[in-house]
Amino acid sequence: MKKDKLVRISLIFLAVSFIFIMLVLPLLLVAKEALAKGFAVYANSLTEGIAVKAMILTLEATVAAVLFNTIFGVASAWLLTKYDFKGKTFLASIIDLPFAISPVVAGLFFIMLFGRMSPLYPFLQAEHIKIVFAIPGIILATIFVTLPFITRELVPVMEAQGRDEEEAAASMGADGFTIFRKITLPNIKWALLYGVTLCTARAMGEFGAVSVVSGHIRGKTNTLPLHIEILYNEYNFTAAFAVASVLVIFAIIILIVRNYIEWRSKKKISAV
């Protein structure tokens, strides 16, 4: 018994110290640097015009990326769990692939497809459609790096759920959308929300891929992470960390929302 307690305490200690050193200390450092010149400077660097514009752009790109990825995530998870077809395993691996691709390279993909060296470029130019070095490119890059998140969250849950309920509904003549809305969605909504929160967090913080396609135009195509880099390269460390702390705060809010969601779902289950 005594030995158990010792093991328990040392494991907790190990886990807590690991997270403290690897995660909490860097975050504390961000906070310390952000407030190094007092709260006024901190607030100033956040309310300054270009920072606000970067924040708005980041939120736009995040919302757009999460929206599209939600549609894709649900459709692909549905496809992978409700049907059997040839090439299913291969498709599943393809969806995971963006995890294995360096974000910088992902950015280059879009430059090659929509940039000046692309055969599509004259057409886009003639139609006055700007994709790379403009907001659509930023959204595309953000979508790319967050592509697998929602699918990955949904597939295990939908797999565990099986197909019985959907098949029963289908046998009663319900169409696909009705089945999804009435049967599947209530079963997966918490997993979906969890996937969405992760996707949101990751989308807000994306740097590498966005950096390649952005063009770094101040106040126009600079997202928050890019703005941080610029401030840092201006030796404006306080402001850089202040803006970084905003992303941390956003992330924490998202995670609190997620925990709240989880807590509510648990409460609901135990109430049934």
Binding site: L57, G115, I135, I230, Y235
Partner: protein, 347 residues
């Protein structure tokens, strides 16, 4: 049937996706949408990292000047980043009216992509470099390692911070300055030069990917005894913390000539050539030169230079053209894969 159904769905999703993207693209920034219409009210100068303060001030002055002269209100946009990366972005489709980069080689790349005349260098005075700088040393207060010149950098007890010439355009000037010093010292014996350069880079503690990163490693992280830096960057660091650093001027250095150029295909399409020309010419005007000097770049204008002569001590300066036969050759000899820089690290 099957295929038709797929098409319908695909077309539907495509239109939703594109519509949504264009909406966010245009709706997200109203100024952006305006620029599409009027065409000339937006102006983009794609530059490299250490010119941010310079152009912030310059754009403001020039904007007022231009408005007074023509009545047009122009929105001047800046993009900053690593010089090479910025050149690439322009070549890849970033619609810059002018580029103001760290070295001619990067502007050449834009020209190679067909966006401007191949002989852009001759379009403006002084090799299209309205302001210059040079390479100096930043050492810690009191110069504890007693670093006086390039040959001190090959001593075993000296730890150096300099960015990687392969990823940082600015750092190539550092490399070439060192090369020139050892070349003169060894009377052109290339093997001896290489030996010295090799020793020098063996002393490099952190090879940052960019010039600003290197400064941060030296200033913020306390890495190294000496930072090889552009003069403007060194002065800036010393100004921020006058008690911590000293600037050491070597006996010989290189004349760093950051290039400016008009991106012909963009200005012709947008109809901003006049504006772009005025913009660059203004850099050569006494006002422009004054702003450059205030931001620690050496002005070309004699009068302004005289005014700031305390800030910019005289030293022997060579140009890339004189010493290395121009940027294309310098790049090929030293920085392409397998060039002298790679030989330093070759096993």
């Amino acid at each position: 049937m099957n295929f038709k159904g797929f098409h319908k769905i695909a077309a539907g999703t495509l239109s939703i996706l594109t519509a949504a993207m264009l909406m966010t693209g245009c709706g997200g920034d109203s100024q952006f949408a305006e620029s599409e219409k009027s065409g000339s009210s937006e102006f983009l100068n794609v530059s490299y990292d250490p010119t941010r303060e310079l152009y912030a001030e310059f754009n403001e002055k020039f904007s007022a000047e231009w408005k007074a002269k023509t009545g047009e209100v122009i929105n001047f946009n800046q993009s900053h980043g690593g010089s090479g990366k910025q050149a690439r972005s322009v070549a890849e489709g970033l619609e810059a009216d002018v580029v103001t980069l760290a070295l001619a080689y990067d502007v050449d790349e834009v020209a190679k992509a067909g966006l401007m005349d191949k002989d852009w260098l001759k379009k403006f005075p002084d090799n299209s470099a309205p302001y210059t700088s040079t390479i100096v040393f930043l050492v810690r207060k009191g110069n504890p390692k007693n670093i006086r010149d390039w040959n001190d950098l090959v001593r075993d007890d000296v730890s150096i911070i300099t960015p990687n010439p392969k990823t940082s355009g600015g750092a190539r000037w550092n490399y070439l300055a060192a090369w020139e010093y050892f070349k003169e010292k060894n009377n052109g014996d290339e093997n001896a030069v290489k030996e010295n350069i090799k020793k020098l880079f063996k002393n490099v503690a952190v090879l940052d990917s960019g010039a600003r990163g290197a400064t941060t490693s030296f200033v913020q992280r306390g890495q190294g005894d000496v930072l090889i830096a552009w003069e403007n960057e060194a002065i800036l660091s010393k100004k921020d913390a006058p008690d911590d650093y000293e600037i050491v001027i070597p006996s010989i250095s290189i004349l760093a000539e950051p290039s400016v150029a008009i991106v012909d295909s963009v200005v012709d399409q947008k109809g901003t050539r006049k504006l772009a020309e005025a913009y660059i010419n203004y850099l050569y005007s006494p006002e422009g030169q004054e702003i450059a000097a205030k931001n620690f770049y050496r002005p070309r204008d004699k009068a302004v230079a005289e005014k700031y002569k305390n800030q910019f001590p005289a030293l022997k300066l060579v140009t890339v053209d004189e010493a290395f036969g121009g940027w294309a050759k310098a790049q090929k000899d030293h920085f392409t894969d397998g060039g002298t820089f790679d030989q330093i690290y070759a096993k």
